[in-house]
Symmetry: C2
Subunit: 333 residues, 2 copies
DNA sequence: GATAAAAATGTAAACGCTTACAAAATGTAA
DNA sequence: TTACATTTTGTAAGCGTTTACATTTTTATC
């Protein structure tokens, strides 16, 4: 069944049917109703391919996410999808993994699918590593690119960030003021966002006049058990620390596990702060004090920014949203 | 740039270029190489819409998932996406939520996008509620429908399940044999899969000669805190129970929280078993004993079954995969 | 009622590909 | 060499829309 069947049954031309489908103004209401009725009766659905051929768009946004089983990313994907849909867009999802070449392939694929824009969540793009980002820049020359918690300077790249630097800075200051003089910062990727957090931590240490040795900051795997092991071995090697600030909740949970194993009382002897305020935070025992980076707001903002970009508006390339420290049992700040 | 540009530059007809694109056998290797070289040089990518118009397919599978932020579903989506990609298929993701009418709309949308098949993960379809499932049946008349952990009898619906009934039955028996004579079963949706688990629990009780009062089974919200509250109020109302079998890990974590609040020693005085062996299981303290339903295998099997279906093979409508009880701190079985 | 302007509708040409069928080139056997 | 089968290539007709432009109908003005 196609537009001809509808036009015939409705006694109008295909152009008129097309106009009705596309909500064009130049159709008399009598005609419109008749056509709509026929479409309903026949159960007609326009062929997306033919439509795409004519319009060269399919109202689809490509979402790239390294790993949709990460709770933060999964949440973001969920809210993005929801909000895109609300705005009449569909989404292609790609779970790219963390490898550069794979990401490049996925990106090519999305572009070949003629997506109207690309949203990248949990990107690893570093301002520094220009050459690794070139492919993203190339993409931005074709379609708008939205970065969630990532930053790349380009007129067609729009970034939505929560102020990771400030969040960690403030959190660390509060930890220190609460008496934890030897905090340790754990992170598990060299993403833009992670590096922001790192700087926040370092700056808070120096602002407080505390020593900030290289060992007060540690790159580890995004895994509860491995984080625990790492902390045990650090302790074994004589490192002294009385608190852990994790760049992800999973790392913080690892720290909680470590403290339990060492018999340290939380939060009296040992404090832990996480990041994302994910479901892990309330699962942990004691529950995690964690920074809530408002993933829903982040997603909603990204989508609404994108809609404005697609609408041809002039839009700032960087939007920062708020976050907040949620205090629970692992650190009474 | 289109196929004409390539054909002209390569000095062949567009039909030949098309044959090269589609890997047709009837092209001399000399010609093929020349065309490929030109495509490479021009950076040519076939237009998916035109392609779709001709072939009436875009090599895309629709994935419907109620809530991609649920860890189990998120994992499934991740593995599905990965495996589809490996097989040359792309995926449209829809996060449908749990409401029937919304699901129906999403389904319509996917069909209108001309997906080649639909994968439904964490479906709520109950064999009983025929009329609620009619729309799925309608879809199955158009394209193959894959159900993960769901069941619906239809020649074009293919179900991949882990044996939830047996898993819970066996787990419950082991709980009882370990001395917990008053287990409570918690579940949070009336999905096919949940009801299977429920039966397994009930049958295990009666097989053990234990009473199975109505209150030994309880429907609750999929939320840690609410589950804890529920258990507290049950206890307050005089219900006696010494173990909880949760149909989801989150419910089990709620039970762990309950036990802590009540000062019950786990697992000596109170045992907990979860389901899915998700990240929550290792986050909990003590870590959850949980049934691992092998989400990766479930996803891989679903995709490979789908590939066989799309390849025109005769495929059984029901595939059951194994699961296993992972014993950790909340129940030493 | 005639005329001009505005609104509604129709015609036909894209859009970029696939593929049935026709034609040409090549290979094989006598 | 010829006759015929096989492989390779080309031609042209779709696929189902959108939309510029042409045409017809309606409305407004005098």
């Amino acid at each position: 069944m196609n537009i001809y069947d509808v036009s015939e049954k409705a006694g109008v031309s295909i152009a008129t049917v097309s106009r009705v489908i596309n909500g064009s103004a130049n159709v008399s209401s009598k005609t419109r109703e008749k056509v709509l009725a026929v479409m309903e009766e026949l159960g007609y659905t326009p062929n997306v391919f033919a439509r795409g051929l004519g319009l060269n768009t399919m109202n689809t946004i490509g979402i790239m996410c390294a790993d949709s089983s990460d709770p933060f990313l999964a949440n973001a994907v969920y809210y993005l999808e929801q909000n895109l849909r609300k705005n009449g867009y569909d989404s292609f999802l790609c779970c790219t993994g963390y490898e550069l070449s794979t990401k490049q392939n996925y990106l090519k694929l999305l572009l070949s699918k003629r997506v109207d824009a690309i949203i990248l969540v949990g990107s690893n793009f570093l301002e520094a590593a220009k050459k690794d980002n070139q492919y993203m820049i190339d993409a931005a020359n074709e379609v708008p690119v939205m970065l969630i918690n990532g930053y790349l300077a380009h007129p067609n790249i729009y970034c939505t960030l929560c102020d990771d630097y400030q969040a960690v800075y403030d959190g660390t200051i509060r930890l220190i003021e609460a008496g934890y003089r030897r905090p340790l910062f754990l992170y598990c990727s060299r993403s833009y966002s992670a590096l922001q957090k790192l700087s926040g931590f370092r700056d808070a240490l120096s602002a407080s006049g505390l020593p900030a040795p290289e060992e007060s900051v540690c790159l580890c795997a995004n895994d509860i058990a491995q984080t625990k092991e790492l902390l045990c071995s650090l302790k074994g090697r004589g490192l002294v620390f009385d608190a852990v600030f994790g760049a992800e909740d999973s790392l913080a949970v690892g720290a909680v596990k470590y403290a339990r194993e060492q018999g340290l009382r939380i939060p009296e002897e040992f404090a832990v702060v996480g990041y994302n305020n994910s479901m892990l935070a309330v699962c942990s025992e004691p529950e995690l004090t964690s920074i809530d980076n408002h993933v829903e707001t982040l997603s909603i903002t990204t989508v609404s920014t994108l809609m404005r970009v697609l609408g041809g508006n002039d839009v700032p390339n960087k939007t920062t949203i708020s976050n907040e420290l949620v205090v629970r049992g692992t650190a009474r700040l």
